[in-house]
Amino acid sequence: MRKALALLAIALIAIPAFAQTGDTIKIGGIWTLSDITGKQGSAAALLAVEEINKSGGVNGKMLELIIADDEGKADKAAAAVEKLATVDKVEAFIGGMASGAEVGKIPAYAKYNKVVVATGAASSAIVEKALGPSPGSDYYFHLHPWDYNQGASYAEGWDAIQKKFPSIKIKKIFLAYEEGAFGKSSWDATKLLFGADKRYTIDGAPFKSALLGGGDYSAVLEAAKDFKPDLFLWAGYDADALPLLEQSKAIKFTPKIYLGAPPGWPIGFGSSKLSKNVMLYGMWSPSMNDTNPASKKFYDAYVKKYREEPATYFALLAYDAVKILADGIKLAGTTETAALVKALEATKYASPLGETITFKPSNIIKHQGITRQKILQWQNGFQEVLWPFEAATAAPVFPFPAWK
């Protein structure tokens, strides 16, 4: 009897284990793992895989996420795709952040023609152009807005905010932009979208980001101060946030709106007095937990598993990428590319980011997911959403307070 029970116990343990190793759907995830967007993105993707597997997997199969580091470089990114496709034999890909690395993956992605749900890479000039039009790039589902999508959504957002809050009037915009691809594409988009119909007067100047060895913003801030902008916007990296504010304070530069647009903010920025009423562009903030149950569910699960707060919206994009892919595989009943592409085209996914993701054509590719970013503001140490109004968590505090 004991022997029979022991055999039964072994069988009960062995059967699911066998099923998981022999009957899984492998997904390759590629991020820059030394960066917080990659670290938290991959962690959030693993959380999504865990949730899906706990609820029975996809079509009776368990998901397995195999993570690779692209180091933010094109050659390493290409090697990661080759390894995942030929050694691990994954059936689909997710991930991505830096455009310079993403563009290195594209030739290999195209060669294997497996479905990709991309979480980053906003540069249309290189990534979207390298992907090319449909049908050659139909395997590629791009979640993050392209740079021109972001510019258009900011223009739309500021128009809406000025209409709803008549005390906020913007005529003059100054953009301080880091001299690399990110800053330059922000400058081009700002000139095009805000300056086109002459409703706004635009000026701008580049600076060398502290991330890349810079850190002296006096020239660009003096130029901005002379211009007397209603909206001062800077496009740089997290390392620029505090020094820019310190130097603005030193020269008593107080535009009516002070807005930063880095991909991520320094940890603890909200606890700095300098953060008071600084506005920002982004996709998500923990304050959305109060209004969006999906956001709260993700946030609570992430904090419970990793004992840290998700500090970047790239975590949610990666989480969404897994969920969208799993739903697509479920609907298609296969990971075969043509069927899966067709299934993903029917996506209607209620994202913790506060919007329903569907895929529509963009300027070049056929499958673009999110096209809007949000306008937020640091209020009492927290990021509050100002626009879109359906996701708003607070009203704007205006104008930016004078330095004391």
Binding site: D69, D75, E82, K83, A85, V87, G100, A125, K184, S185
Partner: protein, 312 residues
Amino acid sequence: MNRNLARVVATLLGALAVALPALAGAYPLQVARNVMLYMALAITWDMLLRSGQISFGIAGLFGLGAYASILGVIRAGMPAWASIPFAAAFSALAALLIGYLILRLRGMYFSIVTLALAEIFRIVIHNLHDFTGGPEGIVAPQGVIFGGSASALYWLALGGLAVALGASIWFERSKFHFALTAIRDNEIAASTSGVNIFSWLLATFVITSGIQGLLGGIFVQSYGFATPDSVFSADFTLLPLAMALLGGIHGTVGPIMGAVLLGVASEWLKLQMPYGHLVVYGIIIIIVILFMPRGLYGLARKMARPAEGRAE
């Protein structure tokens, strides 16, 4: 006997390198391409170092070649394959002009000027926005050379390495070796012995820069795009330098050993610890440079010498 054995080993390794696409999959071939690229850059850096001049300009001339290649295709309508020798010629010509101005400098003055090259070229590319694509970069409309065939791209990279190896061996076996060694040992003695120091240095700088430009052309055609941040990356200066120092300087074998070890170690560490490999990789480089200043090849020769003595 030793020389014959070395020739046999080199021939076997060469044959294995050529035949690798028949034996390995796409991933090992991609890793091999990366290793060969850095190996070739390490060799060219070492070739100039044999004169005693330390150059930090690799990324500058590599990036210049990369842009010459992609702009040659996009703006001048060159075939992709022809843009690669064009990239070499363009970088060599740039090096001729720059070298004429800076090769009177010595020691750290020369090094600092070469360090600025990548930054100067990068800023120029940034500001010629309409022609170069500016900071956002530029994409080759025809995509990757050879339709992205893993084998063809591997052989292209192997071809670039063969050029660097051939030039390095030629340097070791020609008058370059004597001239550069004499310059490194004592410039005054070399000069009084009839060595035209400036001409030898200029020739070396132009040849090594031309190869670096060639490798930039191969890189950019293998990925089908160029951005200033990717092709002028400090990695293209610092990694070859670390590889040559690890393997051993003033010869062809040392940079080969260093590139194989660091290149393979980098990829292996990444597989073992995806989240912390760069830290371990950096620590390995620091330890090796601190404790093995003559490199692995130097250490191996030092260990082999007593044994050779006993055999005699």
